[in-house]
Symmetry: C2
Subunit: 364 residues, 2 copies
């Protein structure tokens, strides 16, 4: 019997992915040229499906990198001359902020408690900050910033660039792209694909900024600068030979999600999240790490364990259910459960049953 | 019937790759954590197999990027403070040189004729150049710089860094790694794998240079700087979630190549290359583009066509044999044939038979 991976990325493959891989091999997709019409059609299909699925407006471009980590770097390089501002509430938002510093920018962080999110208030964001970085879903703690907070910041700072790390939340959030400038994710989480592809959704305003930096002689990188990306994307191509197989799979899986319907996926996600939080709230030695309901992520559910988390993880593993350990210092104290579109209601119910079994195990 | 891809990358998958992909899916490799022991074992196996296969000395590190194009950028960032020198003889060596300029360095190029290689002479390399870039196998033209030329430059410039683009030649060349500092390739060529992974083989001398640049406050990037790479590689990990599936496949295919024996692979490569060049030399309207035998690549064989290359490519395609078109301006005038380890003697003989058929087609 196979394991079911509820790890928050890499995670369980989307349930159609394996069939698409077999078809890709049959059609020799890994051997086609990335300068061929066949590749251009795959690129165009991926972009079109993502635009439809996530309701991405026309003035946005969709670009492909090696990872979401790469997008952190490219975003700072292409969008920030001097100063970027970061809301930080965990290991991944912290890493994004650190990349700003490593690239020689003045980066400023507003720290919120881990397991919570910043209470957005006027005056938090320095006047000369050019880019405001949100981590919509902090994968290390399971805290999600409400979209309304992002929109409030947009209203207060219409001229700044707003960047949203949605690595472990998309396609779930019904994000209004008109109110942000740059959004990104990696395919091994909500889209259930093999890792090795980052997706960068970026608008013309952001592109204009990168061109201004270039004119000023500020380094914006080489093959993966925004102007270089766009010179190829307009032909449905990439600057380098990309991860063609995973790009093909993203076209197919986003097509499958369109067939299923994004509203259906969102509703299911909310049902499964409610079930998981209910289970944790009524457990004897597990409880949600994120206390405030409005900050509780629907896609990465993190539980505090009264005892060592290792015995919980082991018990579930013995039942072929693989959950994530806590991140960093939380390793012995947390478990992390991904609730992605590939995870069916039945699978989450099975997981919940086993978590409830644990109440009777005093050794656990 | 399936096509056989003789395109110079992406190309035909290594003949064992498909079975390894099936096994990877069975073992749920795409779902495992890149911070798990299981991943670390895959990383270690890949490094060990490549070190054994290519006889890479201990003081070299093997690092993984999204593409070989990325390695061009990382190498300039991490190895060059001010000045890099490039031997340029085609589109890819030219692109490497351009990346030096785009990253704000003083880059100097020594141009050789396309379809040939530089005649190495004293005085070509500026005294203050810190890095000397060779493109061992210029994929756009099929010209290969003899290894002895690289060694001669090492002897004359022992203190400079020597970088070798072996993207479309490895694992064929029997390169003496003691005489170079940085070598790189991408997996979709000689190793016959799905694209989306670059392999950077780099020594301690190069790492020291990157640390010196960092101390001077010169930007060497963030997550993919050499110090960041190494802090993870020492644990058999990567800074970001990498292309785990292709990394696994690289472990397996390099293992298969070890079983077959690198000497055997090299001998076969030379036999097949000799057959292809012999065919071109005796053809009525095809001839080798690279005239000087010492510069003729063994892994990418480029033919000039007296007429439009399109009819040649079409005739072969109708026989399920896919060869590459000419690169850039050579598109209508050349065909490019990959001779990689996955291409069997029988497949090359079949291709040669069809190329010989063409002699009788006056329309072609």
């Amino acid at each position: 019997m196979k394991n079911i991976f509820f790890t928050p990325g890499p995670s369980e493959l989307y349930y159609t992915a394996q069939e698409h891989i077999k078809q890709a091999l049959k059609d020799q997709i890994p051997s086609i040229s990335h300068r061929s019409k066949q590749f251009e059609a795959i690129f165009a299909e991926t972009v079109q499906n993502l635009k439809t699925l996530l309701q991405i407006p026309d003035q946005f471009h969709i670009l492909f990198t090696g990872s979401a980590t790469e997008i952190w770097e490219r975003m700072i390089q292409n969008g920030v001359e001097k100063h970027c501002f970061h809301y930080v509430n965990g290991a991944f938002s912290e890493r994004f902020y650190q990349i700003g510093l490593e690239l020689g920018k003045k980066a400023t962080a507003y720290h919120a408690q881990e397991g919570s999110c910043a209470a957005i208030e006027a005056g938090q964001i320095p006047e000369d900050a050019e880019l405001i970085a949100f981590t919509h879903n902090e994968t290390s703690t399971g805290a999600a910033q409400p979209l309304e907070d992002i929109y409030a910041v947009r209203k207060a700072h219409p001229d700044k660039l707003i960047a949203v790390d949605a690595v472990s939340s998309l396609p779930y959030p019904d994000l209004d792209f008109q109110q942000v400038d740059s959004v990104f994710f990696s395919v091994q989480k909500g889209f259930g694909l093999p890792a090795g592809l980052g997706v960068w959704i970026v608008n013309e305003k952001f592109v204009e900024k990168s061109k201004k930096l270039q004119e000023k002689g500020i380094g914006i990188g080489s093959y993966h600068s925004l102007p270089s990306f766009l010179s190829k994307a307009m032909k449905n191509q990439t600057p380098e030979t990309p991860n063609v197989l995973t790009l093909y799979l993203l076209a197919k899986v986003s097509g499958d999600m369109l067939q299923k319907g994004i509203a259906h996926i969102r509703k299911e996600t909310e049902y499964k999240a409610a079930l998981l939080y209910h289970t944790l709230e009524n457990h004897t030695f597990l409880q949600p790490f994120v206390k405030e309901k409005k900050f509780q992520s629907k896609t990465v559910i993190v539980a505090e364990t009264r005892q060592d988390s290792y015995s919980v993880i082991s018990y579930l593993k013995n039942n072929q259910l693989i959950v994530g350990s806590g991140y960093g210092n939380y390793k012995p104290k947390h478990i992390r459960i991904a609730n992605f579109p590939t995870h069916s209601k039945e699978q989450i119910e099975m997981l919940v049953d086993r978590i409830n079994d644990l109440k009777n195990y005093t050794s656990a």
